[in-house]
């Protein structure tokens, strides 16, 4: 089965977040809890629905990821860009996808 993680945008500021193993929503995909079997995915979906109903997050989705050398990588480009930020240096000090934050 393809590994999956739970992602959303935080209600208060809209920033992309992922659910970690402790049940917290964090800003790094790399800290996300990975569901590797159907029951775990069902649990993720239920957690996502609850967080949405509790007005913590919006736009909740379960997304496919793969693990490459210990690093999580979404299968879809859209989700990779959500996780890593715009692929372009949009403002002073930001390095884009190839920047140090994302160096393999």
């Amino acid at each position: 089965m393809v590994s999956k993680v739970l992602t959303a945008n935080r209600l208060s500021d809209g920033i992309s977040v992922w659910l970690d193993a402790a049940g917290n929503w964090g800003e790094s995909l790399q800290d996300a809890f990975i569901a590797r079997h159907a029951e775990a995915v069902t649990a993720l979906e239920a957690t996502g629905k609850q967080a949405f109903d509790d007005n913590k997050v919006v736009d909740v989705n379960v997304v496919d990821v793969e693990e490459v050398n210990g690093t999580l990588r979404p299968l879809r480009m859209r989700e990779r860009i959500r996780a890593e930020g715009p692929s372009i240096p949009y403002a002073a000090g930001y390095n884009g996808l190839s920047g140090p934050k994302h160096a393999a």
Binding site: N9, L11, S12, D13, G14, I15, S16, F52, D54, N55, V58, D59, L75, R76, M77, R78, I81, R82, G85, P86, S87, I88, Y90, A91, A92
Partner: protein, 556 residues
């Protein structure tokens, strides 16, 4: 410029406070997302890939220095130090917190700005020729009519829940710089044989997944009938426009399915009933609004001709910038300056807070405090004395805003694409950056001449790819980005929709493909005067297909 009256101030302030209450109730959990989403959209707040996005309306693209400084302040205080000017003459911020948006709107209201009707199925920001009020070829300034339409359409109770969004554009010159034929309603301000002002009315243009060129349904509509006739169109659309399928809900589909002749007949029936009602515009009202748009008092500055010639002689880069980015003004001693937001290899339409402040300062000192946003994602100083061009240029150079490429191959329109947009399937900005870098040499750009490249990251076509001389549409195929190329599109008075040239190109091959197209054009043009578009219209797609795919190979 139009100045808010007491009603405008009270209305915008009350909307800010209403939205503040709605945001507070959302954050406290009193309002659920489903209830809140349409409310935030009505105030220009979207949710994109990384964060919320706030789209601020810039009516007909006109700004004062004070307003531009506020846009810079908002970028600095509430966002990440930059903003993105759009093809709708608006500005978008990519990182605002929802909790900050009421404060942002409050700050905007203090300079007579807002984000109303920048989303939703209503009449959106009315756009206009960015050279309005200054262009040498203009019959009259279209902005007073755009302002009348703005006032009429703001929270219009009958037209706030249309089948789909609705976009109106107005131009006042034969040369169409507002792309009116790809709008829901396009208005061409002109004079009849008796010298009266009125409009040629176009309906049902648009881009998106079903690109259509608007049909002219009125050759001349007297100016006093503007609101009654527009209301008649809106009523026909509101009644018959499809609500069962959002992809078929724009008026262009209604015009296409009904036929322009029948639709025109229905509009005329409505119009006959509305013509002599309170919607008829009194001459005094038109005059009153027009007063706000009176051109600045332009003193004769004939000394500028001599200084300009001298400066051009001593500085070839300045001369190139004047050649490319300064257009003739109504007044012979003045010019209209395009401030390119397309630095070579940069992000089309982005400006930092410092750049916005710099433009505000320059406009205040040298350009009568007026700034425009063009639908081509550049800024305009509409009134600059030739005698002041050199100091304006120096100030722009210092701000990194003096790229001499208006109308050239690196003056690329690009939507935010998959780097920001929740609807996108592919990235636009990096493609624009690579093409810009490849063709960045001034000599090469000059040799190629006028060539408009427009890039969209999805079929919604915010990057206007359908009317690009070369259009690029990003799609997702088997999980990867692919770029479909169209050729021969144009958004001017001779509007055409670009034709798909063949199979798409991977991101790493698309710049090479564009280069092949450009080289093919350079090889077949009659002379240096024949533009890419003229050459394409003369020879058609085949030479370009052959060059891209091989003459024997099928461009599947």
């Amino acid at each position: 410029m139009y100045r808010y009256d007491e009603f405008d101030h009270a209305f915008v302030s009350s909307r800010v406070e209403q939205f503040r209450d709605q945001v507070e109730r959302r954050l406290s959990g009193e309002l659920a997302e489903d209830a809140f989403k349409p409310l935030r959209l009505m105030n220009g707040v979207y949710l994109q890939l990384h964060a919320y996005m706030l789209r601020v309306a810039i009516p007909y693209g006109t700004l004062s220095s004070r307003q531009m400084r506020m846009l810079a302040h908002i970028a600095r205080k509430y966002d990440r130090g930059y903003g993105h000017f759009t093809t709708r003459q608006n500005i978008q911020y990519n990182w605002p917190r929802l909790s900050d948006t009421p404060d942002i709107l409050n700050e905007l209201a203090s300079v007579e700005m807002h984000a109303l009707q920048t989303s939703g199925n209503c009449i959106r920001n009315v756009t206009a020729d960015h050279f309005a009020g200054a262009a040498a070829d203009e019959v009259a300034d279209p902005r007073p009519y755009a302002e009348i339409l703005r006032q009429w359409s703001s929270v219009h109770p009958e037209f706030s829940f249309l089948p789909r969004k609705f976009k109106i554009a107005v131009t006042g010159a034969e040369r169409d710089r507002a792309a009116i034929q790809v709008h829901d309603i396009g208005l061409h301000l002109k004079k009849d044989e008796n010298g009266r002002l009125g409009f040629a009315v176009y309906v049902g243009g648009g881009q998106g997944r079903t690109p259509m060129i608007a049909k002219k349904i009125r050759d001349f509509l007297p100016e006093e009938d503007l609101l009654s006739y527009t209301t008649a169109i809106m009523r026909v659309y509101n009644l018959h426009g499809r609500r069962d399928n959002k992809y078929k809900a724009r008026i262009k589909i209604l015009v296409h399915e009904t036929g322009a002749e029948e639709l025109s007949r229905q509009v005329e029936v409505e119009f006959a009933a509305l013509k002599d009602t309170e919607l008829k515009l009194p001459e005094t009202d038109i005059q009153a609004i027009s007063t706000y748009f009176a051109p600045p008092a332009l003193d004769n500055r004939a000394e500028g001709w001599e200084s300009l010639a001298r400066w051009k002689k001593t500085d070839s880069e300045f001369a190139r910038w004047v050649q490319q980015n300064v257009q003739p003004h109504k007044h012979p001693d003045y010019g209209m300056v395009t401030i390119s937001l397309k630095p070579i290899g940069g992000i089309p339409g982005d400006a930092s807070d410092a750049q916005m402040d710099a433009v505000a300062d320059i406009a205040e000192e040298y350009a009568f405090d007026e700034i425009r946003v063009s639908h081509e994602q550049n800024l305009i100083l509409p009134h600059v004395a030739l005698a002041d061009l050199e100091p304006v240029y120096r100030a722009l150079v210092a701000a990194g805003l003096a790229t001499a490429n208006a109308g050239l191959i690196t003056d690329i329109i690009a939507c935010p694409g998959l780097d920001y947009c929740a609807l996108a399937n592919a990235r636009s900005i990096p493609v624009a950056q690579e093409i810009s870098t490849r063709f960045g040499s001034p000599e090469r750009q000059a040799e190629i001449g006028e060539l408009k490249i427009k890039i969209s990251g999805c079929i919604n076509a915010c990057g206007h790819h359908h009317v690009g001389h070369i259009g690029l549409l990003g799609v997702e195929k088997k999980g990867a980005e692919l770029y479909q190329i169209t050729l021969g599109g144009s958004g001017d008075e001779n509007t055409s929709i670009g034709e798909i040239i063949g199979r798409g190109f991977e991101p790493e091959k698309v710049t090479d493909a564009v280069e092949t197209i450009v080289d093919t054009y350079l090889g077949l043009r009659r002379d240096g005067q024949e533009t890419f578009l003229e050459a394409y219209r003369r020879v058609g797609p085949q030479p370009f297909k052959d060059a891209l795919y091989g003459s024997a190979q099928e461009a599947a």
